[in-house]
Symmetry: C2
Subunit: 425 residues, 2 copies
Amino acid sequence: MTDSLSYSQHLAQNARAAASELAPVAAGRKNAWLQRIAHALREDSATIVAANAKDLAAGVQAGLSSAMLDRLQLTPDRIESLAKAVEHIVALPDPVGEVIEGQRRPNGLFVTRVRVPLGVVFFIYESRPNVTIDAAALCVKSGNAVILRGGSEAIHSNKALQAVLKKTLGAEGLPQHAVQLVESTDRDIVGHLLSMGNLIDVTIPRGGKSLIERVAREATMPVIKHFEGICHVYVDATADEQMAIDITINSKCHRPGVCNAAETLLIHRDAAPVIWPRLAKELQSRGVELRCCPTSLVLMGSDPIKSTCKAATEEDYATEHLDLILSVRIVDSIEQAIEHIRNFGSAHTDAIVTNCVASSMKFEAEVDSAAVVINASTRFNDGGELGMGAEIGISTDRFHARGPCGLRELTSYKFIVRGEGQIRT
Amino acid sequence: MTDSLSYSQHLAQNARAAASELAPVAAGRKNAWLQRIAHALREDSATIVAANAKDLAAGVQAGLSSAMLDRLQLTPDRIESLAKAVEHIVALPDPVGEVIEGQRRPNGLFVTRVRVPLGVVFFIYESRPNVTIDAAALCVKSGNAVILRGGSEAIHSNKALQAVLKKTLGAEGLPQHAVQLVESTDRDIVGHLLSMGNLIDVTIPRGGKSLIERVAREATMPVIKHFEGICHVYVDATADEQMAIDITINSKCHRPGVCNAAETLLIHRDAAPVIWPRLAKELQSRGVELRCCPTSLVLMGSDPIKSTCKAATEEDYATEHLDLILSVRIVDSIEQAIEHIRNFGSAHTDAIVTNCVASSMKFEAEVDSAAVVINASTRFNDGGELGMGAEIGISTDRFHARGPCGLRELTSYKFIVRGEGQIRT
């Protein structure tokens, strides 16, 4: 047995045992633990910043981009935000024990369906060390043990954060192995853990496409995947001009590097002549590169910005740019818009801007995306914004969890059947 | 491209297209289709029985056991029951479009979580041809397209039933490919379909362990598995004597060959001296072979039935006999009973007989099985009995669906976000 295999088995077995211990723990103790984390983060802020400085120094030497270094950095302010985020999770209802539904059967049996934890979560993520605290808080609050595998570039920060998690678990008398950090950067460990479907209940990868593809390929347990967000804004014939402009700009420009940012703008041909030339200018003034269909180019007339636009290709429509690039297509009808979204979208988040009830209902019924948005920005597909309090990720799967995954999505359920001696006849 | 590969691709692509067409169909039309099936089953009863006769003749030649031939047989009475079962599904609420939850956000957005079909279901089953109609009815009522792969021994019966499904889909104007039967018995087709995770949303295997293991190994999409049911009845110290006897006998003897039948009886040492000798006699008189721990043998005293009992081994405790065999163990405490269930059980169905509130609560909290039963038979873990109307199977997984899977368990959901121009700031 190799070292990395036996190390992985220890992690998984420890997590399994911790999960059994943790499952019946009531919310009060889990919340007390979360309060302790917030307190310890503030108290140990300097230690965490010092550990983070080692990662930053190594990152500079490794030639990380300034954007990546920024994501990696933990400042006292960011640690304070982290503590506040944990306090926010305290306030969320405990999903464990929630009675999802219940009924009395004709034979007198009382049947309830009650939420229970999933068990052991293996969480793999990249870069941002604040995710370490977030993920641990969400998993344990929902009664799960978690194995955390952060990016190697954040290893010192993650170890410092794990020290906080561990000492607070101990102080609260919760199982020590409820949260374990993979402290080695040996990539074999990930492979070993992915093979342990008998000990680990779900793997959640959060990161680039190649990570997610590897996990989906190798995992022997269920996976909550987050593939791409090729999100659309469709401006319908009856759209309010200003609303269409505001929603498009917000969907594209508010945070272009995230999954719920719009990648393609579709405009009904009846709305395009008025809305598109103005919208194109607004987008361009915000640094958005436009990749346009022939009709949208024609509609720009002799506007000088036309020369800076590129022609849109099929590949553009199928690409998640995660950048200030927007593909634009004028469509003949809402049917064509829906068809485009089906062909090129990733069923993540798609918005319509319309003032027509029939269009709104049609879009809602026929666009099968995790979030279908009517007259609002695509940026609202987010656990916090949709009212789930916090999220561990956004699922692009249909099975078990779809869209933002909060505390409830980290649970399963069991049936409780109470009788007075009933037998089946 | 081989023939079986291109055939499989056709099936999957047809199903995908049918699923998109079917998703927005309202309950009225799906129910009208179900009524047509019930009508056609009655009308075509003779044709179906004739097709079934071919399977029976082939089965006799192939040397199938009389139990297997009985499972295979379709009589006019059984076809009438099948029609009634379909009419029963008409009466169940359509899960598609159900608003699971909804709220208005502080910024005025209306957010709802609405049930949608999973998409394409690949259903693999053995022997009983009535499952063909059941599965098709449940999948289509929940808005899914389904690919059915029945056992080769039932191929003529399944083709006759598929003819009913197809003509009624056509008559109702529903997509022809909403239900497709794999008409070839080429086993490669199963492998090809299992590789098409991009077209098929879930595979549900129903059959022996080797089938389920193959599917779990090869599937590139989520699987709803049904492994074994090693179910327990635990008779607590305070159990009512008659209730303990009735529940144990019902759990073991009512249908010993099914997954929710009890395999092991655990008795608290304080209850055993009174209850066990009488219960042993009752079980033995019903033909149950007893495999006993040393203490339970001692408690039988000089009763002559003792000589017919075997000593229980660890392997007995870990085996799903599916037969009139019961392992028996006297335990020192409820803790030891729970420990036994954790070590040897399969988290399917476990019952306690008790009159003690504290024991009942402890068992409920610490036994993590799909169904935890208090003072009733294990046989109640069944979709119909738990109030789900009908079931396509019983999941032994924790992810997505646990325990009986009815219409709701064949669905996913999407978020609908309605605004008046909201953007994120």
